[in-house]
Amino acid sequence: MMKILTMSKYIISIFICLIFNYSFSQEEQEEVIEDSLKIEQKYGIRIGLDLSKQVRMITEDYNGISLYGDLRIKERLFIVAEIGNDDKKIFNENINANFKGSYLKAGFNYNFYNNPPGLENEIYFGFRFATSSFKSEVFNYLVYDFDKYWENGRIEDYSEYTDLSANWIELILGFNAKISKNIFMGTSLRLNRMINQKSPENFGNLYIPGFNIVTEDNNFGTGITYTLTYRIPLVKK
C-alpha cells in the first residue's frame, strides 16, 4: 500500500512537472510581446480544491475533501484559509482503526519569487495555524505477546473515542503557476509541528485529520497538497 502511494507521488510530481514545463514555455513567449505594456497587478479572491485528496482516495483507504481560499492583500502577501475533513483507516499488523474529523487552517503565504513582467507565478513561504477535531475507533488488534503457546490472532474489541482534538502549526514551501486566465495550479510541501493534542486514555492518535500520520515520540509531521485554484477577478490595482 505504502509503495503504491509512494509511486503515485512520483508519477503526479512528474506529471505536474510536465504541465508546468509546458505552461512556462508558453508564457515565456508571451513575455516578449507584453514587455512594453503597462503591467497590471490583479488582486482577488482565489478558491480551490486540494486534488491530493482525490488521489489518496484511489491509492489509500481514505475519504476526504479540502477547500482552499486566499485573498491577496499586498503585492506579495496572501491571507489563506483551508478547511477540510479526513476519514482514514489504519490497517497495520497490530491495530485496525479509523480516524475521522475535520480541520481548519488559517495563515498567510509570502511570495518571494520575482516574476518577470506580466507573469503571475508564485514561489512562497507559508505559515498556518491549524486545529482539528476528530474521533477514533478501534476495531480489532493483535495482542503483543512473546509467548506463543496459545494461538495469537486478532481480538475483535470495538471501542470508540470521541471529542479528540489537536492544534499545530505548519511551515510551507510551495509554488503556484498560472495555467490559464484566472486558473492556477500549485503544490506545497508542509512541515507540521504539533502544539498539543488530546488523545484517549488507552489509545493513541495515529492519524490526525489535517495533520496526517503521527509518528511515535515525534512532534513533526509532513503533508503535501496539489491545488487547483480559480481566481474570482474582483479587484484590480
Binding site: T6, S13, C17, D145, W150, L189, E216
Partner: protein, 159 residues
C-alpha cells in the same frame, strides 16, 4: 532566478518526503505478562519443587512444560476469561496424578504504541482446582491479584 530551478527544487523535496519512517516495535517494551506460580510445601510453607511436572493447556494439543520446578510462569488465554490447565505430577511413573486447574480472570487491554499495539493484563478472580478425590494440590492462594508484570509470583500452590 529561473522559476524552473525553484520548481525542480520543490519537486526534489517531494521525492524525499515520500520516504516515511517505519515504526518498529522494540523488544524492550514489556509484553503481555505470564502468570507466575510458586510451589510450596503444604505443611511447612517452604519452597518445594514438584517432581516431574507436566503442564498442558486443556484446550491445547501441545505440552507447555515438562520438568521438576518450584516455580513456573504460564500464559493465560487472551480470548476467554478462563484458562484451564492440566498439572500432572510424576507424569512418567505409575504414580502419575493429574489435577485440573481453572484460572478465572478479567482481561484488560493496555495500549503501548502504534508499532507494538496492545498488550493484555489480567485481574485474577479465582482459581479452582477440580476435585478428583486424589488431588495432589492441597491449596492455592492468590498472592497478587493484578497480573501486570513478571517481577514476582502471583499465585502460591501448596502440595
Amino acid at each position: 532566478m529561473n522559476f524552473h530551478y525553484y520548481l525542480r527544487g520543490v519537486l526534489i523535496l517531494f521525492f524525499l518526503s515520500s520516504c516515511e519512517p517505519d515504526d518498529i516495535c522494540l523488544e524492550s517494551n514489556t509484553d503481555t505478562p505470564n502468570l507466575i506460580i510458586k510451589f510450596l510445601d503444604f505443611n511447612s510453607g517452604e519452597n518445594k519443587p514438584v517432581v516431574n511436572l507436566k503442564i498442558k493447556g486443556v484446550d491445547s494439543e501441545n505440552d507447555f512444560f515438562i520438568g521438576t520446578v518450584d516455580s513456573i510462569s504460564i500464559p493465560l488465554s487472551n480470548y476467554q476469561n478462563t484458562t484451564p490447565f492440566s498439572f500432572t505430577k510424576e507424569f512418567d511413573s505409575n504414580q502419575a496424578n493429574e489435577d485440573l486447574i481453572y484460572f478465572n480472570y478479567v482481561r484488560n487491554n493496555v495500549y503501548i504504541s502504534r508499532s507494538c499495539g496492545y498488550k493484555m493484563e489480567y485481574e485474577i478472580e479465582n482459581i479452582i482446582v477440580e476435585n478428583d478425590n486424589l488431588n495432589w494440590i492441597e491449596d492455592s492462594i492468590i498472592e497478587k491479584r493484578v497480573v501486570n508484570d513478571e517481577n514476582s509470583h502471583h499465585v502460591k500452590i501448596y502440595h
